[in-house]
Structure formats: structure tokens, C-alpha cells
């Protein structure tokens, strides 16, 4: 069976995740509160989630039904959170 190496090695994916996590933290710690923080931080969550799903969970090679369900879940939840946040804006 041909090997299924992911295009990126786990190391490069890991580095991206660490950097984006740091950005999320600093944005929250020092960045301005409000709409842009939320949208920015959740966009990063989308990126990180997709990386983990596609590379670590190897959904890149998986049948589309599984890839769609996990990525679909990620997008729906994040969009739901953003939607709820905007609705709750004072």
C-alpha cells in the first residue's frame, strides 16, 4: 500500500499551530476587545482546526463524507459563535 505521507511533516504543522496560538494569546492579552478580536481569534481557530483535521487526522486522504463532516462541524461552530457574538454586541 503506497505510504500516505502528509504534504507537510508534523513538525511544520506543529510550528504553525504554536505561532497561531501565541498570536491568539497576545491578541487577547493586549489587543483591543470587541469585534475584531473575536473575528480574528476565531479565524485563527478555523485555521488551526483545519490543520489538525487535514494533517494530523489525515482527513486530506479520507473519503469526502468524513472530511466534510469534521470541517463542516468546525465552520458551523465557529460561524455560530461569531453570529452569537455579533447578536450580543451592545
Amino acid at each position: 500500500m503506497p505510504t500516505r505521507d502528509s504534504v507537510y511533516s508534523p513538525l511544520t504543522v506543529w510550528q504553525t499551530l504554536v505561532v497561531t496560538t501565541a498570536i491568539t494569546f497576545f491578541a487577547g492579552e493586549f489587543g483591543p476587545a470587541g469585534r475584531w478580536l473575536v473575528v480574528g481569534v476565531l479565524a485563527l481557530a478555523l485555521l488551526k482546526g483545519s490543520l489538525v483535521a487535514l494533517h494530523f487526522m489525515e482527513l486530506r486522504h479520507a473519503p469526502t463524507v468524513w472530511r466534510l463532516s469534521v470541517l463542516g462541524w468546525l465552520w458551523l461552530v465557529v460561524l455560530g459563535i461569531v453570529g452569537a457574538y455579533l447578536k450580543g454586541m451592545p
Binding site: P2, A45, A53, H55, F56, W73, G80
Partner: protein, 202 residues
């Protein structure tokens, strides 16, 4: 199991459409994701109803330990992915190198437990409990639900570590390892949404 198609246009053998691990685990994963997803949305909409309370009580959280925990889980997840890749390439003493990676993943997982336990101890000492406020109910509920998933995941990883060290897994015959890995990545994926939602957003 799945035929690999060699299309004339691409020289590279197109990789077969195969799911990582056992479908039974994936069905369980999706059910868990659904439960977490609904809880996240419930949190988001409850927050929308009184943003002030949530922001005020969120300030009481220790965002740094949240950061450390995210880094720990992400690293642990990467190490498990590394272990799966090593077993699949099956070089010299692959089992030993994969087992080492799994051990690292377990260590990071334990780190998460320690940091989280420390965080909880502080909150419980301050008298926070499930029914003290809507925020505390969501905070303890969500992170607690996730916390016990990490504990379960560590049990799975220890079993996988022993099996890998014993050389049970080989390329094309690592269903247990891949299934456990998929579960652990799910636990990490859920935390990647939970961290910004609970700790950072305000």
C-alpha cells in the same frame, strides 16, 4: 481494501481514499464533536444574553495557563501524528522511535492535567462551583467535560504506547494506533475552539 488509481495525467500514484483508524471510532468522534459543538453554541448564545457578566467573570480566568495548555495539547497531538508517521514508514527501530514519540505525547498530556488541575484548585478554593453562576456553570462544565476527555485519551495513549513499544503495529496494520490517534486529535481540535471561545474572546 481500496484500489490505487494511476491516472495518466499525474505521475504520482494518487493516494487511496482511506480513513485514519476505525469507522466505529469515527462515529463516536462525530457524536462527541456534535455534543461539544452544541455546548459551544449554547455558551455563545448564553454569553450573547449577558456579555457583561461573562466578560467580568472571564477576567477571573488565568489566560496564561490556558495558553500553556493549548501549547501542550498541540505538541502532544503533533507527537502522536509523528508516531503514526514513523510506524507507517517502518524504518530501523521504528517501533522504538514511535513509542518515544507517544511517551512525549503522554508527558504533554499529563502536563495539561497538572496545569488544569492547578487552575481548578484555585477556582474551587475561591468557592466557584457548577451552580454558582451561569458563567461558572459553562466554564466548569465545558472545560470539565473536555478535561475528562483528556484523561480518557491519556489512558488510550498509555495502552497505545505499550502496544507500540511491543512492536505490535506495522505499516498497513496499525488500526488501533490510528484510531487512538484520531480520538486524541479530536480532543485537541475541540480545545482549539474552546480556548479562544472561553479564555480569549471578550
Amino acid at each position: 481494501m481500496s484500489s490505487s488509481r494511476t491516472s495518466s495525467s499525474s505521475l504520482v500514484l494518487s493516494t487511496p481514499r482511506v480513513l485514519q483508524g476505525d469507522i466505529a471510532v469515527w462515529i463516536f468522534l462525530l457524536a462527541e464533536l456534535l455534543a461539544f459543538g452544541v455546548f459551544f453554541l449554547a455558551y455563545a448564545f448564553a454569553r450573547a444574553r449577558n456579555p457583561g457578566l461573562f466578560d467580568a467573570e472571564q477576567a477571573g480566568l488565568d489566560r496564561q495557563s490556558g495558553l500553556i495548555n493549548t501549547l501542550l495539547l498541540v505538541s502532544s497531538s503533533a507527537l502522536v501524528a509523528q508516531a503514526v508517521a514513523v510506524v507507517r514508514r517502518a524504518g530501523a527501530d521504528a517501533s522504538q522511535r514511535a513509542a518515544a514519540a507517544l511517551l512525549g505525547a503522554i508527558a504533554c498530556g499529563l502536563g495539561f492535567i497538572v496545569v488544569k488541575g492547578h487552575e481548578y484548585a484555585a477556582h474551587f478554593a475561591a468557592g466557584m462551583e457548577l451552580s454558582s453562576s451561569t458563567f461558572s456553570m459553562f466554564y466548569l462544565g465545558l472545560t470539565g467535560f473536555h478535561f475528562f476527555h483528556v484523561v480518557l485519551g491519556l489512558v488510550v495513549l498509555v495502552v497505545l504506547w505499550r502496544q507500540t513499544a511491543a512492536g505490535v503495529y506495522r505499516p498497513g496494520d496499525a488500526n488501533g494506533l490510528e484510531s487512538g490517534a484520531a480520538y486524541w486529535h479530536m480532543v485537541d481540535l475541540v480545545w482549539l475552539v474552546l480556548f479562544p471561545l472561553v479564555y480569549v474572546m471578550h
